[in-house]
């Protein structure tokens, strides 16, 4: 950028320029561009920045806070070329986020019949089937039960597919994973309230959306760690996440954590709904398809530096990313900066929680030469995140779901970071 801007530029222009730069920062490089313009130096040392020379926005200007306008590029990643948007998904911008908690406004979305607008006063949860006492609960009823809060990831089973074109950014690739603190009541407690009959083996959960999304859950999961959730990250669920009530099944594929939950039907066998037969089954090359494949296996991705970002100069760069496993805690994350020839153990940021995103970091000195960087997660069961080649050899390209492959990034000599498998 040249230094031709007059410092006396009219304030509107100056503000717009700064705003555009803010947008670039939000969307852009791991390292910021050098070469600030004259106008931009007005607020730099030794000058006093203009925002110190007048009062800021008064209290109450935002009854519900919003991010800085300079972060306006950090939004959900929603394809502009979908056939339709009623049954569709929007991705978390993973490469823009720090830590392990996904802000509610950026939590990934997947719905199958649009987002219903539900009055909680008119919402009911019906619990029936193989129980001693079929019951109906209001939202107030559910809030009377002892509550609990837990931090867990949620991931869509199709994150990403096995076939090209592969995405450019971490969000394009695995943006259908997010993590939050969930508050609600243990499903076990609510099932005990109705009294399970000995023949109870499955619970069919149904959403109150236009898709009436229906999935069958094994009773073991319902009695292990399933929750009926009404709050996320401290506030009531957003409509996109199932307001006023959702099921939450830690470590299971996302669609089973049925949103807008209105009915739990305790049965002896699954219902074989459309979503668990024709959709969320995994097709193998021999024409058989795996059904009731619930768990999301161990996975990780480097989010910084990652596809679409740019390293401006050789030297120190921290490699950082997220790892998770539906089978428990992350035990170890290994990072390679030499195209998989050697691996180093990354540092795990506390807390390392069961079925939650875990942040990992590795200090790195980039020598300015082309490099391929990648991470692999190992969970507490000893399972090692596989390569895409290994997965394809067993599953083929039409498996579609549960792709937990290692995803390498290519760093070019000019600092551009791109998808090494694309």
């Amino acid at each position: 950028m040249s230094s031709t801007i007059n410092p006396d530029d009219d304030p509107v222009t100056t503000t717009r320029r700064r705003f555009l730069k803010g947008g670039t920062v939000a969307l852009g490089g791991a390292v910021l561009g050098a070469g600030a313009s004259a106008a931009e130096t007005d607020n730099l040392p030794p000058n006093t920045p203009e925002w110190m020379k007048m009062p800021g926005e008064p209290m109450g200007s935002q009854p519900y806070g919003a991010p800085s306008p300079f972060e306006k590029g950090v939004v959900k990643n929603i394809s502009k070329t979908l056939k339709q948007y009623i049954s569709a998904s929007g991705r978390t911008p993973l490469q823009e986020l720090d830590g392990i908690i996904t802000p509610n406004g950026l939590f990934y979305e997947r719905h199958h019949g649009g987002v219903p607008s539900i009055d909680p006063a008119q919402h009911r949860l019906m619990l029936h089937g193989l129980v001693d006492r079929p019951l109906i609960f209001t939202m107030d009823d559910l809030r009377r039960f002892s509550s609990e809060s837990r931090i867990h990831f949620l991931e869509c089973s199709g994150n990403p597919s096995y076939s090209k074109p592969y995405g450019k950014t971490a969000s394009d690739l695995v943006g259908l994973v997010s993590c939050a603190e969930w508050t609600g009541v243990s499903l076990k407690l609510v099932l005990q309230e109705a009294g399970l009959k000995p023949e109870a083996k499955w619970v069919i959960a149904e959403g109150a959306d236009a898709a009436a999304l229906t999935r069958s859950i094994p009773i073991e999961k319902c009695l292990e760690d399933a929750m009926l959730v009404y709050s996320q990250n401290g506030e009531r669920l957003r409509p996109q996440q199932g307001y006023p009530l959702r099921l939450f099944l830690p470590g299971f594929e996302g669609n089973m954590s049925v949103k807008w939950l209105r009915r739990l039907h305790v049965t002896a066998e699954p219902v074989y709904s459309r979503e668990e037969t024709s959709k969320y089954t995994d097709l193998l090359p021999d024409g058989t398809a795996r059904e009731f494949s619930f768990y999301m296996e161990a996975k990780s991705i480097i989010t910084r530096p990652s596809g679409g970002q740019h390293l401006d100069a050789p030297g120190f760069h921290e490699i950082s990313g997220i790892a998770w496993s539906g089978h428990g805690k992350i035990a170890r994350v290994e990072v390679s900066v030499d195209d998989g020839k050697s691996w180093q153990e990354a540092r795990l940021q506390d807390p390392v929680l069961t079925r939650a995103l875990t942040r990992f970091r590795l200090p790195w000195r980039w020598d300015g030469k082309p490099a391929v960087i990648q991470s692999r997660a190992i969970d507490e069961t000893g399972y090692v995140q596989p390569t895409l080649t290994e997965l394809l050899a067993v599953r083929g390209e039409n498996f579609f779901y549960h792709n937990n492959a290692i995803w390498p990034w290519r760093v070019a000599a000019d600092g551009e970071v791109t998808n090494a498998l694309a």
């Binding site: 049954s87 019906m126 898709a211 097709l283």
Partner: protein
């Protein structure tokens, strides 16, 4: 201290529940009984054996009319797909490099077709079709796949009796399938 109190109360409640009639007493006494009529109104689940299929019937001929009005704009005149999923064809492709997943080629149970259409279709007005219309449209979609005759009329019994071509191709979850 609060935890101990809570545990104590919970224990006392559980003791009461065990001591009296377990059928009548719930541990916390939260919620109210669901009546059979309320359950019948909400429970639309159809078993793969046809359990809970409602009375009613529908023919391929009637289904053709309902399909043309309610379904064809998204799924195509002959179930070839469009905005909505492809519904017909693809038999014999599932084990190939380019599988075409349709009702006829992939779905294991015809009962699921009834269940899904009744609960979720048409997308712009779910649960607006009569049970007779759902039987009829199910019959027509199965006809498009060559799985029932041109003169077929489906009801609870005949729908449940249909054996879908791909029924026996579903297997359990074999993961972890990549090990080191």
């Amino acid at each position: 201290m609060r935890l101990r109190e809570t545990c104590g109360i919970a224990f006392a409640i559980l003791l009461c529940a065990c001591a009296s009639d377990a059928q009548a007493q719930s541990p916390y006494g939260i919620g109210r009984p669901a009546t059979p009529a309320e359950i019948a109104g909400w429970n639309l689940d159809i078993g793969r054996d046809g359990g809970n299929l409602p009375p009613g019937r529908g023919s391929v001929a009637d289904g053709r009319d309902v399909y043309a009005q309610q379904c064809a704009s998204c799924h195509g005149e002959k179930g070839e797909g469009g905005l909505g999923d492809r519904l017909a064809g693809g038999q014999g492709t599932i084990g190939t490099a380019k599988p075409i997943r349709t009702v006829g080629s992939f779905w294991p149970y015809a009962t699921t077709l009834f269940d899904y259409i009744r609960s979720a279709m048409p997308q712009n007005a779910p649960q607006s079709l009569s049970d007779d219309d759902v039987y009829a449209v199910s019959a027509y979609v199965l006809r498009l796949n060559g799985l029932v005759g041109e003169n077929a009329i489906l009801d609870a019994k005949s729908l449940a009796a249909i054996k879908m071509p791909n029924r026996d191709s579903f297997v359990g979850d074999a993961r972890p399938d990549v090990k080191r």
